[in-house]
């Protein structure tokens, strides 16, 4: 079996929350993957946004995802973006079961086992007092 993909550690560039994304990052700190739903049309919006991506309504409210989904696309990276990153790491787009995409990294998975359609679940990793990152790991 090939080596297991690992989370990164402090020193990587960190997200800077905005006014309308702060609830998302607050959710991560308490182990919740939060996403927005439209109070007018019911559609799901992600990444956090100031308006619904289906009808452009500003009437959005937060829900909590079950954190389950599947890999939509992936790439294993061997040349790090900056030396702060440890390679290899796998960047993935995950389709959550609630119907939104999230860009993240896959962890706790053998490097050569990543594939489109793979079932995954959230794995939160606390990097600092302000930021807990949602990663994904194989489900079941």
């Amino acid at each position: 079996m090939s080596e297991l993909l690992q989370p990164q550690s402090l020193g990587i560039p960190m997200p800077v929350p905005t006014l309308f994304s702060q609830p998302y990052w607050d959710g991560c700190k308490v182990g919740e993957l939060r996403y927005q739903r439209c109070g007018d049309c019911g559609a799901v919006t992600m990444d956090p946004a100031p308006a619904c991506s289906a009808c452009f309504s500003a009437n959005l409210f937060w829900e909590v995802s079950a954190g389950q989904g599947e890999v939509y696309s992936w790439t294993t990276v061997w040349r790090p973006q900056t030396p702060a990153f440890t390679v290899p790491y796998a960047a993935v787009i995950v389709t959550l079961d609630e119907g939104f995409w999230l860009l993240s990294n896959l962890i706790n998975c053998p490097v050569d086992a990543v594939h489109v359609g793979m079932r995954v679940k959230t794995a939160f990793v606390e990097l600092s007092e302000e930021i807990t990152l949602p990663y994904f790991e194989p489900a079941g």
Partner: protein, 388 residues
Amino acid sequence: MAKHPFHDVAIVGIANSAQARVLEGHDSTTITFQAVHRVLADSGLSPADIDGVAAGPFSGPLTYYMRNGPSWRSHMVPSIPIILDAASAIATGQCHTVLVAHGSAGIYTERASTAPWTRPANEFVVAYGMFTAAEFALIARRHMHMHGTTPEQLATVAATIRNNGHVHPGAVYCGRGPFTPDDILASRMVADPFHLLDCAMTSEGACALILTTRERAQDLPNTPVYILGGAGDSFGPSYQHPPAWDLAGPSGRNNGYTGRWAAQKSFAMAELGPADVDVCEFYDPFSFEIIRQFEAYGFCEPGEGGEFVMDGRIGPGGQFPVTTDGGTMSFSHGGAAVQQLQRVIRGVEQLRGACVSAQVPDAGVAMCSNGGAGALFTDVMLLGTQTP
């Protein structure tokens, strides 16, 4: 019949500065001015003839140092849209002769990291180690999953383009080949499925173009080249959100085929179709992008791009020769914008019959492009030797 919107516009000057991995003794301004001096010489014009400047951050300095004010100025990024902006300004009589220029030097110095313009700062991608190779890999991987596109097909694109640069004396990687697809596959992995040689390199340099009226072009030394069509497709900001192939709104038009609708508009404006294109000066940030563009622009059906690029079709002497100078993989890649202008410059050179690598005999129509699905946008432009 209504007159073509760019009937009275011609491209009359093109030039490159020196191109190198590192240009000692230059910064972005000095190398841009070198390209400007050369494009003035190429076109037979002087600063006093220029009454419009479209050069990104250099528009102001060029206008001031040329003392050519009062002058029209574009505020766009120097790539295909800025040339359309300049052509529109000429066509509507806001000015008659526009200098387009851009350059980059001394910006990428921290070589342990990827180039600064490739790294996003957005909060939803920044912590996941994303840079352009990874962004475009997520697009390529999805296509491979849907259609069975293979690493060998990607490598064939990379070898073809790099071999064009191998024989271009002005290319940064002149003489570095020739390459076989196996050579590409044997290079180290950067972001699966992209090996090092599937990716653009980075370098320094500048380039410039001059557009003027059809009437003025008659008195100038170069054979004029005309803009037959052009348009752009954008799906949002580059490198801030997941680069999903299927990103789309209610129209169903998806990011995976960004550039398709711009190409359709361009072909309609030109009253041409893909079969009329003699040379494909497609933007080549990563090998897969060429496969994607042949599908997006209607040269082949969705899913057929991988097969389409095989058997010499896109090489010199093939049906659709692609990126004839070596592109961003081999000719030059000066940063965020300058290398995008290079595709148009090479298109003009092909139509003049003056490209020193992979010249297409009697080329009459060139298709040029910028961007890519990993960056959520694609711009296209059709150039021709005949007045539209």
